[in-house]
Symmetry: C2
Subunit: 158 residues, 2 copies
């Protein structure tokens, strides 16, 4: 069990709540939360907005960063970012830009992002393998495959 | 001289116009444009919005991608992205996410981003070394160093 068990439960629930919200809106069910590691203060939450806002860049993590607003470098460096799904290369790059040292991932079965790049920069990466995170994504991919493949820059398999 | 000389002139001017606009608004002078490589149609332009919209994620390239809206995978794969300054890890990741195969960079003197990561994924990277791109950034960094260092996730040098 992680030293951060309470933090990780709180953060994953906040991210999952965002994923559920997005799914209920007809959107891609990926949620994220940025939490101050020591104080457990939630700095920002967000979810994928491709469908809701016709946005190609508001992935879950980018939305959470955006919701947190402008923060000092040291705030990011003391934060943990939670995401219900393994981060794509853009969100990985955002995590590296701001030197967020800890990433907690709900699942990486439906999509495996750039976890190795994060680790190679010394970022701590934790995979929770959460059943609800997986189920939301599985359902969405079955229901709206074109939207999902667009979100990861791929043409829909024909 | 590049085979794409006309395209590159058009795209860099569109990006530079955005950088000038941002500077005139008191913002970080980094602009970007996404252009269809064959038709030279401008798909989207944007500039850094850290100051104007209190945004930590709307870098020039992300703003241009956002302005272009939802595009099919093949449109990105036939595009060139122009940016007045070498792309940070987030913007590099966005370019890789969407498999944009060609990146034209105004300058990389004031900041050198993840050009090597782009190249390692087969992306064509062209450095223009444009004097106006450099001058705008040099001026901004002198005038508002805290905003600039915040934009790249660094604490201001004391």
């Amino acid at each position: 069990m992680s030293n951060h068990a309470k933090l990780d439960q709180l953060g994953l629930q906040a991210a999952l709540e965002q994923a559920r919200k997005s799914y209920s809106e007809g959107g891609i069910p990926i949620g994220s939360a940025i939490v101050a590691t020591s104080s457990m203060e939630i700095l920002g939450v967000g979810h994928n907005q491709r469908i809701q806002k016709a946005s190609p860049t508001l992935h879950g993590e980018i939305s959470a960063l955006e919701a947190a607003g402008r923060l000092k470098a040291e705030v990011y460096r003391g934060a943990t970012i939670f995401t219900t799904l393994s981060p794509c290369s853009m969100c990985t790059g955002a995590i590296l830009l701001y030197n967020i040292p800890r990433v907690v991932i709900g699942e990486n079965t439906n999509f495996k992002g750039n976890e190795d790049l994060l680790k190679s920069h010394g970022v701590e990466v934790i995979i929770i393998d959460n059943a609800e995170c997986k189920e939301l994504m599985e359902n969405f991919i079955k229901e709206k495959p074109e939207d999902w493949y667009e979100d990861i820059g791929e043409a829909t398999a024909s």
